[in-house]
Amino acid sequence: MKVLIKGIWLLLTLLLLAGIYPKHAYEQFVAEHADQYLQVQKIKDCDVIYLSASSNFASGLARETDPRKISQMIADHFPALQFEAINKPASHAGIHVNLLEMFRENAEAETFIVTMNLRSFGPDWIYSELETPLQQSTLFYNNRLPLINRALVSLRAYDDQSTEERHAQRKSAWADDPLPFDPPQDNVTDWCAVEKWGDWRNPKRQLADQFIKQYGFVLDASNPRVKDFDRMSAMAEEEGWTMVFNILAENLETADSLVGKDLTSLMRRNTQWLVDRYEEKGHELVNNLEQVSHAHFTDKDFPTEHYDDIGRRIIADNVAEGLARALAQKNSKNDN
């Protein structure tokens, strides 16, 4: 009986403190650690949601005449529709699928454009040190009590691996995952070791190695990002959502000039694999892989999907076409 009274006292005190907690500490914490949650919370009466990593952002270059994001450029094509964008650098399908779960509960939108960033399927991104804070943020994408969410963060109830552990996994993937070429190009590590452009001190050699590390992988159904897109696809089917997958442009010209045809063929092959897989599942795929030329990539010293205003416009126009097709198909289904 004594223990019971103590337990009840503990619970009551905790409940009282939990009631005070959200206003004073939680909101600030969420803003710092899971801003995408707040972005979702702000969305009201929206038709189309655009989910992406940093590729949506303007580069900020002085020569740009149009400082808008890709999502805003797409919205130009659909004045009758309300668009919203949720972006976070380094974000990927594993995070987007959790955000979509929130829309499942709140049902604010029924059409989603999700970027498919080819690099995000590779080991460098999968085992990035940025993954730990991203995984931590996923704990907030739900309607649990604030103090419970915060406690789960405190107890590291997410994929909480150290940078060293993630880098060890990445290294092992580069060394062990087979590539469809003859040695020494049968794995990323050996491929990078091949002399090209002199030794590692040459910037061209460093960039060539980065291209191999970013795009040197073979996609299959076991890839974690593919599993995330599969989950998204299943979710869309269950909820009756319209999904448009936006395969972003990569700098194939630089990949070709620095590394060669083997790498670009691998990039095309992986992209085609994605197109086939998700078209078969009934989604609209917009393949921008080779749509932006080298001149319109803003980062020249690392492979990224950051484009100037012309590059963003090209992507936006293609996605708008795809979205129009998807919406037309949806309308015709509804009419039938």
Partner: protein
Amino acid sequence: MLFNSLPFLIFLPTVVLLYYLLPHRTRWILLLAASYIFYGYWKVEYLSLILASTTVDYFVARYIHATPSRLHKRMGLAVSLITNLGLLAFFKYSGWFIEDVLDPVVGLTDGQLDSFRKAWDFLLPVGISFYTFQTLGYTIDVYFGKAVPEKNPLKFALFVSYFPQLVAGPIERFSHLHQQLFQRVSFEYANLQQGGRLILYGLFIKMCVADNVSPIVDQIFGHSAEADGIQLAAGMLLFGLQIYSDFHGYSLIAIGTAKLLGVNLMDNFNAPYTSLSIREFWGRWHISLSTWFRDYLFIPLGGSKAGMTKLAINILIVFLVSGLWHGANWTFVVWGAMHGLAYLAERWLFPMRTKSRVGSALKWIWTMVIVFFAWIFFRSESVAHGTDYIMQMLQNTGDGLTIEWDPFLASIVGIFILSDLLFRNRSIHVWLESTSTLIRWSVYALLLFFITGFAGTVQHPFIYFQF
């Protein structure tokens, strides 16, 4: 498995429940299995290391005990020393030795260094410094006839791997821990209460104090060139607070966990920042390690019975080895040397025997200056970094960093510091026991609230895991 993680929150109650449900004779098997799961959860491959250390010391200790030959006993001890210190040397010191010792002396080529880095690019096994010292202590005890070796290899394996103190101590002695592991323990509410209280307070100071201070310390030490003198001094003080609350918190959780299972582990900390000398500091800081070094290194070297020069050399050896034990970097050697030299200075140059208030205050200031300045090297990336940090702190040349100080978190830190000063020589859990039920359980609720709502979110585990 980390103590401050959800898996441990499930693991611990499960083990405790099963422990008291099982008949006495099978409980140790549960503890052994739990200990291997606890360690293997982090990285299964490294279970082989603890197994290797256990196997070698099991056979070596039995051999030393059985053989009448002094030479053979010595050879047995050498095998144990080579195996355990060899494991440590390979995993912990080989990288440092080649890059920071061998390379500057013989001048390795870029290619040689590169291939070495590739070959040695593995993670340091968690807690290797702790369990190798514990098992080494056992063999030395057997060698000197202070312990009779365990006959059952699995029971010995439990002594080496006992999960509450496996990865960061307290480093236990065979004579203290072994018999407790196999004694008949009946369920007692008092054990549950005391253990739970220690775990709760340990989690609070680790998660709310150490982990919240950590980002500020990282910022100041990471950008020390830009920080101003006051910020650098704050960084030094806060690191002292961080490492103390981190390790003290861990030790309390370890002691509390063992207490739930009816085992008393030794205390590891006792308000070290109230020390009035370096000698006293080492009697209050990481007590299980300092007594280990005293018993297994200082005394075998000759202890205090040696002449003055020999004694000074022995003291310096102990502090330098202690520094190196903490990490493979010259910074730890400097840290150890600073403590060693200060210890010698206290002993011979200015033995401060005064008991007046002013005298005590001066002694305290002296001790803290040494301890906190030494922490700068402990935390720095290199000796040069540590030296620059001190110079800049004293000269106040930096422009200043923009540091976000959270007043609420600062007050949590303040509460901890005050309580530590207030409860000098008396644990907070003893104080809690003497208060009324209402206050006690309100404090529990408050601690739980702080742990769940205000724990730091840094991405590194306990600092001492890396040692």
